[in-house]
Symmetry: C2
DNA sequence: ATAGTCCTTTGCAGCGCTGCAAACGGAACT
DNA sequence: AGTTCCGTTTGCAGCGCTGCAAAGGACTAT
């Protein structure tokens, strides 16, 4: 049986299809009488508007896409959890894409591919993509970038102040008396900008305390995963002068590092203090609980969606802005014990 | 500037729009000559097909929706991680929806709402929805259900054998010498079917070993979260006869339970052995690592997508089937120490 | 040379909706 | 009674593509 259409409803209600459309969309001035007639007909026929047709007619899809490197990384999962309802509230469906941090995949998404028609705008947390790459994108694509990539003025950027946050994290380690502090998670230019900002904070904290930085204690990792943290920590422990504290560039890295430490019979924080970044739920339950930098994820999500929807609505190009949301240091057992 | 259309390409290539369509879709017999001409024109104009228009014309959206209760629950995040590429490979985009376990929300999604046009089929992991509710759904919606809800014959169901898996988990606890075994995560009918199957396995393992079941050791929880596990474990420890092992209905519950145990200075597994369910990544890195039931998530994802796409393609109703995928017991430190 | 065959290409109509601007009808005013 | 005005309702065209079936062209068989 055929799906009922606007025309069917119009016929039953004795009005024009256009009027039915007006009622359905809550548009314009429709008298109570006609509205009632139409609504009765809609109910009787069980009519539901065909979104596909509407999309074609309006040229908009009512969808936004959120692109993250990995869906099963708790930080991104938690962020998405916040983005979806925020977008829904503004009438947008959320498409999700994961790129596995693959640069080509990210490029394809922001480029002018055929999928472009499926979404009205994009929120992306780039990983493989370097600053330059962002310019190859479809210039008509409303874009909001999360994380650490600076805006080039054509898109918005939402994130926390990574340098300040990292400085706080390391200063905290210094404050509790640690002097040989390592950093796990550094990454080279061009794609590792998030990492570089954190390394900068690492240095800044040392400078502020008048401490020298032992460059050999800055450990690079391919990613921010548990396994990277575990491996890097093992390498640090195999040295003859292991650190007494580690600033990990994500909570997952911290989790991996702790795993290695405890596995070797060392105590956290007594032997080595650990601080992470992101405040994922795991960190609040792991043993010990993980001190961390807590970004305001709800605010990031809300701000990103608001800005994106604004861009979509504006029609033309909108100057890009840098939006910083709040963060705070959350000391837990992995630094202060207890 | 207007987006270039099929017609523009046709004009430039000197063929009919229909032929361009054929080339774009890889359809039919198109001679190499015309194909070349058309492809040159496409490249020159930077043409990309308008998916919205195609959707309207074909009446299909090329999207499937995956509905999970919580996106930030690692189990679901890991499952989605597997579903997205599987669907993409078959030409489908994945829409994601989270319901917060809200029954009304789940009902709305499977009902005949207007969003129906946005997807060709649905994979749902129901939580609030009881068996009966599944019948209120849009009968034309191709549906695959994950988890524990049995098929009523109109949709497919993909999952592991929960009773068998739970039996194995508890038998493992018995095999390592535990006799006072608790269960955390039971839930009442009608929505707690997953939980009930696990409770059934709990009983079956006791029966097989000739052990009595202490009913007071079966603890109900509202959800399968860390906080539920932590709270329930605390209650168990406050009794005068605490258990020497706990079967947790999810790894998150296990994580919470361990958190409580260690917080009270108890040792895992020496004082209390813990086994979880789901094999989320956390469990492989927590301290101690968590013994668990490992469902073959890749297989679940692949099977679910394959069946769904088959259903979508079939046009008519397809008899529902029960599909069981493999699982295995993975003993780790939380039961066998080390 | 002519008819028949087969395969490529085409034209038409329409998917169901909305943008636009015109038509309509009633109320208010002269 | 006639005109103007204003707000509701309507008609038309078209978003860009595909399904269908027929047209066209090349080639083979008689």
């Amino acid at each position: 049986m055929r799906e009922t259409t606007l025309r069917d409803v119009a016929e039953l209600a004795g009005v024009s299809p256009r009027t039915v459309s007006n009622v359905v969309n809550g548009y314009a001035k429709v008298t109570d009488g006609t509205r009632a007639k139409v609504e009765r007909a809609i109910a009787e026929l069980g009519y539901r508007p065909n979104v596909l047709a509407r999309n074609l007619a309006t040229g908009r899809s009512g969808q936004i896409v959120v692109v993250v490197p990995y869906l099963d990384t708790p930080y991104f999962a938690e962020l998405l959890q916040a983005i979806i309802p925020a977008a829904r509230k503004l009438g947008y469906n959320v498409l999700i894409d994961q790129t596995d941090g693959d640069r080509a995949h990210e490029e394809e998404l922001i480029g002018r591919g055929s999928r472009r028609f499926l979404f009205d705008g994009m929120i992306i947390s780039p990983l493989g993509l370097a600053q330059e790459d962002l310019s190859v994108r479809d210039p008509d694509l409303p874009l909001v970038v999360l994380g650490e990539r600076r805006s080039d003025g054509t898109f918005d950027h939402v994130g926390i102040d990574d340098v300040a946050a990292s400085t706080e994290a390391v200063s905290h380690l210094i404050a509790i008396g640690r002097r040989r502090i390592a950093a796990i998670g550094d990454q080279p230019y061009p794609t590792g900008e998030a990492a570089q900002l954190r390394t900068r904070g690492f240095r800044a904290a040392h400078a502020a305390a008048g401490l020298p930085v032992d460059e050999s204690l800055i450990i690079g990792t391919a990613r921010f995963n548990r396994i990277d943290g575990a491996t890097a920590m093992a390498a640090l422990l195999d040295r003859e002068d292991p650190p007494d504290a580690v600033f990990c560039y994500s909570d997952l890295v911290a989790s991996g590092a702790i795993h290695t430490l405890l596995g070797r019979g060392l105590r956290v924080p007594e032997d080595v203090a650990i601080i992470g970044y992101d405040d994922i739920e795991d960190g609040r339950y792991s043993q010990p609980t993980i001190s961390t930098i807590q970004p305001d994820k709800k605010a990031i999500a809300q701000l990103a969606v608001d800005r994106l929807v604004m861009r979509i609505g504006s029609g033309g190009p909108v100057p890009g802005v840098e939006l910083k949301v709040a963060h705070r240091l959350v000391p837990r057992q992995s630094t202060i014990g207890g």
